[in-house]
């Protein structure tokens, strides 16, 4: 098992390097001279040139990229063009808010998705099943930022129950979490349903029933355990996906997370900030996927045994 984890961790290195290379290349192609942006439009050309030289912008692309990696390994991802503070400081300051929102979104998705999926599967083609499947389809078809605005319209503007934005305590987390979690809830519902349906048809479930095990126990203990394996993958993938999707939800609810930092940075043409936030979220995303795979191996002994 340790060998497996080590193997996967090592595989992460080329992925992270690749991600930084791709994002760095994209940002390198961005039109506009960073030195000019920092000094402003009216700065004299000599000064701009001097700053370009200081920042190493006159070096070839590959030299600049390796310098970026070298500094990055030391935790230095440059300074924001607009605030002049180290970008990593800003990202770290904002990351807890994004993480909180993402975890809350995943929780919403799990709390809705798994029970609804199980009930749908045990009562296949019932009214409950049909309603929840239509609901799940609507859930994946809605633009989540629009759904968020509709929630604001109902619960903040009309009913005045919940705040429409900001990060002030639990009540302000409710709407953003539902907004972010809905599409994931829909996917988890569908996955749970189909995974359960597949498992309940198997022989060992018939055996358990024949033995006279209570139906509740058959479903919750015997069936769910095996049905969970693909569900865990979906939950994990969704966790990573929501981390990226939080960009839109954060914009809707003025949530002070990395997503909004990124959107603001794009508006201000703050390249180091854009670069670092995309790399940061992608690396977190990869780590989450790795953890899901490891968890997967724990849950499914068949995978574990391959790496003994």
């Amino acid at each position: 098992m340790h060998k497996y984890i080590l193997h996967r961790l090592l595989l992460l290195i080329p992925v992270i390097l690749g991600v930084t290379f791709i994002v760095y290349s994209i940002m390198y192609l961005t039109p506009g001279d960073p030195a000019q942006i920092i000094l402003g439009e009216s700065a004299p050309p000599e000064k701009v040139e001097q700053l370009r030289e200081e920042m190493g912008l006159n070096d070839p692309f590959i030299v600049q990229y390796f310098r970026f990696i070298k500094n990055g390994l030391k935790g230095d991802f440059g300074r924001s063009y607009s605030t002049r503070r180290p970008v990593f400081e800003e990202i770290f300051a904002r990351f807890p808010a994004t993480l909180k929102l993402t975890i809350a979104g995943v929780l919403v998705a799990i709390i809705i998705g798994i029970p609804v999926g199980i009930i749908s599967a045990t009562k296949q083609y019932s009214l409950f099943d049909n309603v929840s499947m239509v609901g799940a389809l609507l859930g994946v078809s809605m633009p989540n930022f629009w759904f968020g605005l509709m929630l604001v319209l109902v619960f903040s503007v009309t009913l005045k129950w919940l705040p429409s934005g900001g990060d002030n305590g639990l009540s302000s987390l409710v709407l953003p979490a539902i907004t972010l979690g809905t599409s994931a809830a829909a996917l988890i519902t569908r996955m749970t349903r189909s995974s359960m349906l597949e498992v309940i048809r198997q022989d060992y479930i018939r055996t358990a029933r024949a033995k006279g095990v209570l139906e509740k126990k058959v479903i919750n203990k015997h069936a769910l355990k095996n049905a969970l394996i693909p569900i865990i993958t979906v939950v994990g993938l969704q966790f990573g996906y929501l981390l990226g999707g939080a960009v839109l939800t954060e914009t809707v609810f003025s949530w002070p997370g990395v997503g909004r930092l990124l959107v603001d940075a794009i508006r201000q043409k703050d390249t180091p900030m854009v670069l670092a936030s995309v790399v940061f979220v992608s690396v977190t995303f990869s780590f989450v996927n790795l953890m899901v795979d490891i968890l997967y191996a724990y849950v499914d002994p068949r995978i574990k045994s391959q790496y003994k």
Partner: protein, 293 residues
Amino acid sequence: MATAKKSKKNKKRSQWSEVWRRLKKNKMAMVGLTILTIIVLLAVFADFIADYDEVVIKQNLKERLQGPSAKHWLGTDEFGRDIFARLIHGARVSLKVGIISVGISIIIGGILGSIAGYYGGLIDNIIMRTMDIFLAIPSILLAIAIVSALGPSLMNLMIAVGISSVPSYARIVRASVLSIRDQEFIEAAKAIGASDLRIVLKHIIPNTLAPVIVQGTLGVAGAILSTAGLSFIGLGIRPPAPEWGAMLAGGRAYLRYAWHVTTFPGLAIMTIILALNFLGDGLRDALDPRLKQ
């Protein structure tokens, strides 16, 4: 010879008519197809329904933020423009972005996937590991990075959305190619001296079409959603051009007094996505009955 050709043609036709027959039986898919047809017709004949310059673009501040009425079915936006007219013209933008960006992903992903699957070995490894790296970046972030680098415009939006979903098509095509590559009819084609290009184009690609069509249909939905999202954060098409995500974002400031400005564009997006999802699911079942359980 002539009869052989004829029977081959018949068989070909019957294969697709078989798919169509199965699709027709699927109520949800037919609902989806009907909704899509209506939206496409509205988009095609948009100019006959509402003039672009006079109704869709021109501001009329006297009538701003009016609720739905007989004159303005879905009300007016913050510049007094008819929302229904803008939605119809916006459908053109969304359909165009959806189809072209998926086209970009299918072409690039298809080429990479077939090369990787057909040749295997080192080439396969290089291509697929590169795809893994692209997959490690959440697609919305990749699209944001590309648009912010290229600058916001319709073309750049399509490129960004298209590139960000290349890896999933590459994977699908590679998997199908791998499953076909070692079959006997490919061996037979090789034995009679067919070139690699001919084998891939004539024998392998047609057999990978089913999963690509399904993924493509669902992909158009995804592309429309991503575009709306990018427009929502201000990386989309520049105003005053009508785009659903941008219209929705424009209404955000007036949510308190004019709910309809935000609500209707969102409903429009949801309707088209739902229709595409219905059709995509139906196509999957119709193209590969084995998958249906």
